[in-house]
Symmetry: C2
Subunit: 158 residues, 2 copies
Amino acid sequence: MKLLTKTSISLALSAALIATAGYAASQTASSSNAGVAARHAQMQMVAYNIGMLGAVAKGEVEFDAEMVNSAATNLKMLASMDTASLWLDGTAQGEVDGSRAKAEIWSDRAGFIGKFKQMEDAAAGLVDVASLEDLRAGMGPLGGSCKACHETYRGPKN
Amino acid sequence: MKLLTKTSISLALSAALIATAGYAASQTASSSNAGVAARHAQMQMVAYNIGMLGAVAKGEVEFDAEMVNSAATNLKMLASMDTASLWLDGTAQGEVDGSRAKAEIWSDRAGFIGKFKQMEDAAAGLVDVASLEDLRAGMGPLGGSCKACHETYRGPKN
C-alpha cells in the first residue's frame, strides 16, 4: 500500500461520499460503509490466495509452479494496491459496523503501511519458486506478515 | 485474467478443497463456495475503484491526478490477476448459492477472458490521465467493458 501524499484526497473522499459513489453494495456486504466493505474484499482475496499456497505447502494439492506463481503474483498485487481511501477517519472498530480496525492504524500510519510492504515482499519471495521446498520456506515470512499486522492493527471479532 | 495452460491446476483445485483450504469464510460471505465469494470480492474491489473514478468524472469529487492514477492502477491490477481457479466447473448460477455466472463463461472461456483484457486495457488508458477531460473520455471504454461482460456472462439477480 502506498502512502497518500496529498491530504486533499482523503479530505475530498469523505466516507459518506464513497458510500454512495456509484457503488452498489451487495446484500451480503460486510459493512454499510463501502470503504470498509472494500477493504474486507481485499482481505478476502488475500486469504483466498494464501489458502491456495497453503494447500500446496501442506501437501493437499500437488505442487505446480504455475499455480504457485499465479497466487503469489496476485498477492503481491493485492498488497501493493493504493487503498488509502479505504482507511478514512471514522472507520475504526466501534465507529462503523463491521470494522475491526484498531486506532493504531491512524496513530501509526507508517507502521501500518509497512505491514502491507512486508506482505508484498513475502509474496514477491514466492513468485517463481521452483520447488515445494522453496514454497514451504517462503510461507513463514508470509504468515508472519499476516500475524504481525493482525496482532497490532486488528481488533477482536465483532 | 490469464488463461490457465495446465489442466492439472483446475483439476487439482477442486471446489470442495478450495472451500476449506485455509480460507475462513466471513459471516457475510456472498457464497458458501470460497471461489465464488472470492470472485465477488474481486468485483467489489473493481466496483469500488470505478466508483471513485466515476465520482470524479461526475464532478462530485475534485479532479486529483494522483487519486485517479491510483484507482486506475488498482483496476488494471485487478483485471490482470490470474483468477482462473475461481471459475471452476460446477460454480455457475443454479449450481452453487450466490452465483450469477452464466454457462457461457465455460463454453466461451476465451471470450470471457477477453472481457477482462478489455477492462485491463480501459483501466490502463486511465493511468496517468492529466485532466478531467481525459478522465471523462476514458470512462466510456471502461464502462463499456463492464457492460459487455455483464450482458454476455452474468445472469439475473438471485
